[in-house]
Symmetry: C2
Subunit: 214 residues, 2 copies
Amino acid sequence: MAKLRFQISISIDGFVAGPNPSEEHPLGEGGEQLHEWVVKLAEWRKPHGYEGGETNASSAVMEDALSNVGATVMGRNMFGGGPGPWGEEPWEGWWGDEPPFHTPVFVLTHHEREPLEKEGGTTFTFVTDGIESALEQAKEAAGGKDVALGGGADVAQQFLAAGLIDELDLNVVPVLLGGGTRLFENLTGANVALEQVRVIAGPDATHVKYSVSA
Amino acid sequence: MAKLRFQISISIDGFVAGPNPSEEHPLGEGGEQLHEWVVKLAEWRKPHGYEGGETNASSAVMEDALSNVGATVMGRNMFGGGPGPWGEEPWEGWWGDEPPFHTPVFVLTHHEREPLEKEGGTTFTFVTDGIESALEQAKEAAGGKDVALGGGADVAQQFLAAGLIDELDLNVVPVLLGGGTRLFENLTGANVALEQVRVIAGPDATHVKYSVSA
């Protein structure tokens, strides 16, 4: 059955973004370090339009993350920040003309908006009736493939607390951010069981995949 | 050179004890799950006076944790709870007549007390002049071997923030506790660099060891 999969890079102290995000540091102070392991990989650089890069033990994680994904669900901030509601000149998001998803993307928001079609197979559909609805639409659109949860942390917490995530893949990066956005918060009462299903020791991160059941 | 080593079991949401600790649940609700991986190991059971147990990939972690340790440092709550200051009938701690340390143990406290000698090579020495002093005394007593930091979380945070921990070994357990005592807190400004030095995928936990440098 199609799964909802969530992969994210996290500091050893549990942050998915550093403190004090700004235009200069959109991922917060020190937050870029969380993604160094991946942006150096050839397997990440090619689909994002960059040349070169290396192949190492973490490459398999990247390949896994990209394979068998038929649709994506994300929060409104992951689609693109900027002022909301959408206004007269709707914000186009920060993914450019050809976003790297190449699948239907369902964006959770409180404000209705017409779908936004981009090049390369990515269409953003805006969902205003909650996470279950977004997941249902995404599974339908995925045509039997899995659904990737794009984030951010607040949206992931909602899906996790509701027992809707089937697979959680943490890229644990050896850095202490000391503050910022925690992935695991507001989960009191989240009644889920985890099972460790795969561990990969990359040179710059440890990748642990868990299956999650409600 | 002798190192200060800290090993601890932690939930994937970053807790080293669950919420609402009580007499029934001294490690908080659900906290016992953090230690299931180790109490089933023959390598843990034997030195703690229990029979049986299994040997698996996590056994090497236990052997590593016990080897080349010449002294231990811990906080007062790890030595033993109970009312303080010590009073007329000083609390003997909760480690019994033959504690499992078999080394000199330096207990951080605000209240002076005579050393307490137990069977099997464990002597508790009470240190009232701070973490640097405790570490210095422990390194002296360790005679060239390493010093183990016993915890708890608050003491570990002090040592970590001060850049005094050389090796951090996290046993990451696939459970969400949803609340409790976080290991990584109060670390804003802790200026330490981590390097991942060993990953072991046990059946019930992933063990990641980091070298830490100030």
